[in-house]
Symmetry: C2
Subunit: 454 residues, 2 copies
């Protein structure tokens, strides 16, 4: 008889796991039956694409869906949309689900449970924070709600939080013609970068007319009699708003897991081993934005909700669940984005992170260009690199620059991954031709300068 | 008393060595006097920029010069231009130089000799190959000669050889409005790529109106009574030409070294150790296009004349000569270029190279996109990757694609450098955001597919 797998959450991690489990099971002769439930309308989509949908760059929501429920069904997965998992009994081995349209509850027994419940936007516990017109942006359904609201022709947007989602959404709103204010409690936007690089993001945002208010904390939301948000009240003043976007980060959506008695980590995420099993809970697996991931440089766990990890983890989980053998080796904190005309990327540790983790780090920041200096289109880029003083081991890198800058972060990420010293990195065989880089690639200029300080 | 260093050749390797030697000597308290001689007009220039100068993209020759003779002199180097080294006596420790404008010879004694004589274009030993209007393209003086010739308004160009220089010069000539034919003896242009990828280069060249004649060998050059080239005679027919560019590769310019009794390697290059010393010849050093470099994957020596190696080797040589300690760790065969609208890159071994070297290699070729498939500007790219069947170790990668494709080769080069397996590479933490890549980066799709075959 087939073993039954219940997957909770049908986005990247859940459906990668489901698909890969069936594929692997087929090869290994294992008999699996897979049911996937999700409370939303969409499977396997690119949440990272939502700001570009809202900006009007891409067609949504269908254009952001990599594989529809019907396509998954054609592959043998019993996908049930608008179906919310509401309770799990790990001893009795069932998940109770609520079929929203039918208003019906049902218990699904399982041999294996895959928790892929994702993350949810942080909502401040402040007066008015549930008013109409205040949106988190995490799911396609969230994106659709913003798009619907934009049809009411709001004129002023306030974005709370200047992380990736915040700055991308601020740009999207500005490009839709709204007057946009971004409020953040940090001294500069984009705190995944050190402040000296974050300042360039600040300038780029102002350059496209976005009002950036830093060192300001949100104190509440003014709401009209119609229940709609009117303004955001902050320590730096009150900002009128017809629409508010919450970009205060996300946290693992693990209330279901917690209620079921699964242990959570320091950041509220589910802790899994490298095969994506929940330790000491046989047959329970988890992947994606609801888990914590191992940070190879910090040698500790962090919550890093990114599609790239979700897809890889889902695949690894599915391989193991299907009878194969795979491991998710952790991450090094790589991220990339584009804000206005600036490309932004980072990997490893920033200065504060390195200090907090007890590293004695040395940093250099260099100015270079995306192409040979004399080549048409050569554009400025700033690259900051950190290394451990005692060993010379690279600890992290950050890039802010114009088109053609940011993908260099992959070279830095692979150097980190392999524990390379900056002296060694400076002498590696990276590509060079005038349309692509200066003869000393910016990575190698920075690595060389760092090595020279040691 | 100061030790005297004579540097022969004042381009990237020679002048990097000279500058770094003085810098290091100053720090280490060593007293060096540096004389650099060169038969040409220019120091420290970007030869890679010559095709773009000829195309009209960049201003030459001055725009391609990173540091002029006077700038080097201001840094304390006695630079002597238009001064050709004609003989070396390693026992008596002098270099005889010929000051061309003065018509005078002089012997320069040395304590240390740095040979940075570069490479010279291969000229076929065929009838008419010295005719006017036939150009190699290796030095700024060569570039200036081509520019002068173009002022005579030639209409038809034939490029012999479809390697990097050949295809770049073909494009440059086409963009200058000449009718261009490229002749190569291989089945496809760009034999640093496997033929299946070279075919895309072939199509891109034809797409911009360049006539590409493959499987054809040159048999001679028809010359007019005025001594100027009229046509290129090949096994596939005779092609009219008002100007001919030789893109048949270069060889190390080592006749001086050979005459002095220095041992040369299999490819005619000077063999140096990783500190850039010529073994068993105390005080004799060499770097740049005149040396052979260690190929880390082949575990053997090759002649790979590229500015990136020349600069690194020059710097390493200078550090050691100045009393410091540095090593050039070899290379892995990384190269990048742009032909018409195609970006091209490669690192490590191609299929034939891997087979010749005795590797049992598996290859996959994938089609992917430069950005998330739904993102505006997502452009097609082809990535081919090779791994060793027994170990899964990555052996090489090749990329052909539209804008935003080719720099991914640096990730592949660093994976190679660190002896990563394709299974490990597939799970590394590379960057992802829709404007930059699909959620599985093409590198990781290829690595994963290769790993799946093992």
């Amino acid at each position: 008889m087939a073993e039954r797998v219940v997957v909770v959450g049908a986005d990247a991690a859940g459906m990668s796991a489901a698909s890969q489990a069936l594929r692997t099971a087929k090869a290994s002769g294992r008999d699996l039956e897979v049911v996937a439930v999700d409370r939303g309308h969409w499977t396997s989509y690119s949440a990272c694409g939502i700001p570009y949908w809202i900006a009007g760059d891409v067609d949504g929501p269908h254009g952001l869906v990599a594989r529809t429920p019907d396509e998954h069904r054609a592959n043998g997965i019993d996908v049930r949309m608008l179906t919310e998992a509401v309770e799990i009994d790990l001893d009795a081995r069932w998940v109770e689900v609520h079929d929203t349209p039918a208003g019906r509850r049902q218990r699904l027994g399982f041999d294996h449970l895959v928790l892929a419940t994702g993350a949810e936007p942080v909502r401040p516990d402040l007066p008015g924070s549930d008013a109409d017109g205040i949106f988190g942006v995490q799911t396609l359904d969230d994106g659709a709600a913003v798009i619907d609201h934009l049809a009411t022709r709001p004129e002023r947007a306030v974005v709370v939080g200047a992380g990736y989602i915040g700055v991308e959404m601020a740009e999207a709103m500005a490009r839709r013609g709204l007057a946009v204010t971004v409020v953040d409690q940090a001294p500069e936007p984009m705190t995944t970068l050190d402040a000296d690089l974050g300042q360039q993001v600040h300038e780029a945002m102002e350059g496209m007319g976005i009002d950036v208010v830093t060192n300001a904390s949100v104190e509440g939301f003014d709401t009209g009699d119609d229940g709609r948000v009117r303004a955001v009240v902050t320590s730096a003043g009150t900002f009128t708003a017809d629409v508010v976007v919450l970009g205060m980060g996300v946290r693992p959506a693990t209330s279901l897991a917690k209620a079921a008695g699964l242990p959570l980590g320091e950041y509220g995420g589910i802790r899994v081993d490298e095969r994506l099993r929940v330790p000491e809970h046989d047959g329970v697996w988890s992947a994606g934005d609801c888990v914590e991931s191992y940070h190879r440089i910090l040698r500790d766990w962090r919550h890093v909700p990114l599609g790239t990890h979700a897809n890889k983890q889902g695949r690894v989980l599915g391989t193991n669940l299907g009878g194969g053998d795979a491991a998710f080796p952790g991450m090094v904190g790589t991220a990339i984005s584009k804000v206005c005309d600036l490309e932004i990327a980072r990997t490893g540790l920033g200065e504060d992170e390195a200090a907090d983790a007890g590293f004695d780090a040395v940093a250099v920041t260099i100015q270079s260009t995306t192409r040979a200096g004399y080549f048409p289109g050569a554009a400025p880029m700033t690259l900051k690199m950190l290394a451990e003083r005692s060993s010379g081991r690279m600890l992290g890198a950050q890039i802010v620059g114009r088109e053609g800058s940011a993908m260099r972060i992959d070279g830095c990420a692979l150097a980190l991954w392999n524990d390379m010293s900056v002296a060694d990195l400076a002498m590696t065989d990276l590509s060079y031709a005038p349309p692509f880089s200066p003869v000393w690639d910016p990575i190698q200029i920075a690595a060389r300068k760092l090595a020279d300080t040691m």
